[in-house]
Symmetry: C2
Subunit: 293 residues, 2 copies
Amino acid sequence: MKKEDIAIAFKKLQEDICYALQEEDGNGQFISDIWQRPEGGGGDTRVMQNGNTLEKAGVNFSAVHGPVSKKMNDAFGLDADEFYATGVSIVIHPYNPFVPIVHMNIRYFELPGKTWWFGGGIDLTPIYIDEKEAKFFHGQLKNTCDVFDKNHYPEFKKWADDYFFIPHRNETRGIGGIFFDRLMGKDKKELFDFVCAVGRTFAPTYCHIVRDKKNTTYDKSHKKWQGIRRSRYVEFNLLYDKGTKFGLDTDGRTESILMSMPPLAEWHYNYTPAIGSEEEKTLQFLKKGKAWV
Amino acid sequence: MKKEDIAIAFKKLQEDICYALQEEDGNGQFISDIWQRPEGGGGDTRVMQNGNTLEKAGVNFSAVHGPVSKKMNDAFGLDADEFYATGVSIVIHPYNPFVPIVHMNIRYFELPGKTWWFGGGIDLTPIYIDEKEAKFFHGQLKNTCDVFDKNHYPEFKKWADDYFFIPHRNETRGIGGIFFDRLMGKDKKELFDFVCAVGRTFAPTYCHIVRDKKNTTYDKSHKKWQGIRRSRYVEFNLLYDKGTKFGLDTDGRTESILMSMPPLAEWHYNYTPAIGSEEEKTLQFLKKGKAWV
């Protein structure tokens, strides 16, 4: 598996996902910003704003390379002169508070002549947690994982629980999903097939959830809660997310990295949902270690 | 100067500032949350939400102490067993996009038996930069500084330019002001008098600006630009602000630390103001090294 072939497959996946999301939305169009990185490589950032259902959807592809700065080596515990990285990264913020925020990423990283690895994952951030939906989502991920290795789902599900955690809120970001990094050492083609399968699981799974929820009626109180949950998403991404940090530390393209930010977010001082409310029920679910399947 | 006397003076300053802001707003009331820190000390977080003019205003006082964790020593380059910290910290987000966001902080830090220092500053983040207002604001700060040391204003103005900078946007957060840290070694009483003078400069200066702008008419386009500028404020505070990091790293009270977050913020992909617009003029001003006085 040459890195160029991995990048070609990832680019194709980006196209397929944009097509599927556009079909599902029925109105919004992705615009494409093709950009180059002065130190090497570039990307294609596709963003839909103001779709029917999808308020802000970013589907990034990038394949970048170049020298490794000291800051980058220190931050990521590397000792390398050069790197190559390609990946697809998605964050979607829908209008309707009953349609969850979603994130997907698959990535390949290489320190030429030294080592390589794959990473990625999918996780869901419902504004209102629906147990049936959560089971469906985790079930889809488990099905994909099980084709490759029965240990993948439990291991990567726990990894997502630990990764998508907001310590200062003592909350998980959402209901998790799967997360994995530095997969290496085994057959490279098999790992490649696995991350591609994760990538292909994304569109049908999320579109199913969108179709199921996009016509749910909502009011101002639901939008307020969505604004608050989105603010927690912002806090996680800016304070803890390694991809965001990596992007900003390597002088990545700011608008491509921060396409993950919600179109609108709200911070209310010391907001506490009423006991027994749907909002409070959702908060109760935002804990590590919940077995959904 | 005993640390207890410094804390008493800071608490009094908090009271005076809340009173002045409430008088200026005419409608909003500060609510007070008195909290204790399990490891030692506590604070009084005062927040006004939905005032006439002030949409969200936080005026924090705290005086905390306790053991220094390894994480804290590492993060702040210290080598201490115990610390004491007291301060007043303010962030105000007004409704009207023509009234600037403001931040003020004064603080005293002590490693008992080892060392102590003062820090602080005031800086202004206009949504639309008004040169006359910027000159007034910097003039007020210079006047206060000059009473103590003619070198203070130029030195602390540069410090603010460097500190309130958002590298991934290549923008300053606003028009700066003054910032200083680790002031020590000279007469302690004089440094205390200086930070108190900075604290007392805050209310009359900001209230003057509020009065001047609060009745300016605005429309949706101004509110959108306010939402975007507020998102940059969020990015700075979560990615770069040392006070936020210190607070979260020392398991501070999350709601008191993040009272600085705006009530609403907006992220639009790749937003670029029209050439010659007021928004673009403001962006042009967001550079280091602008001499306002």
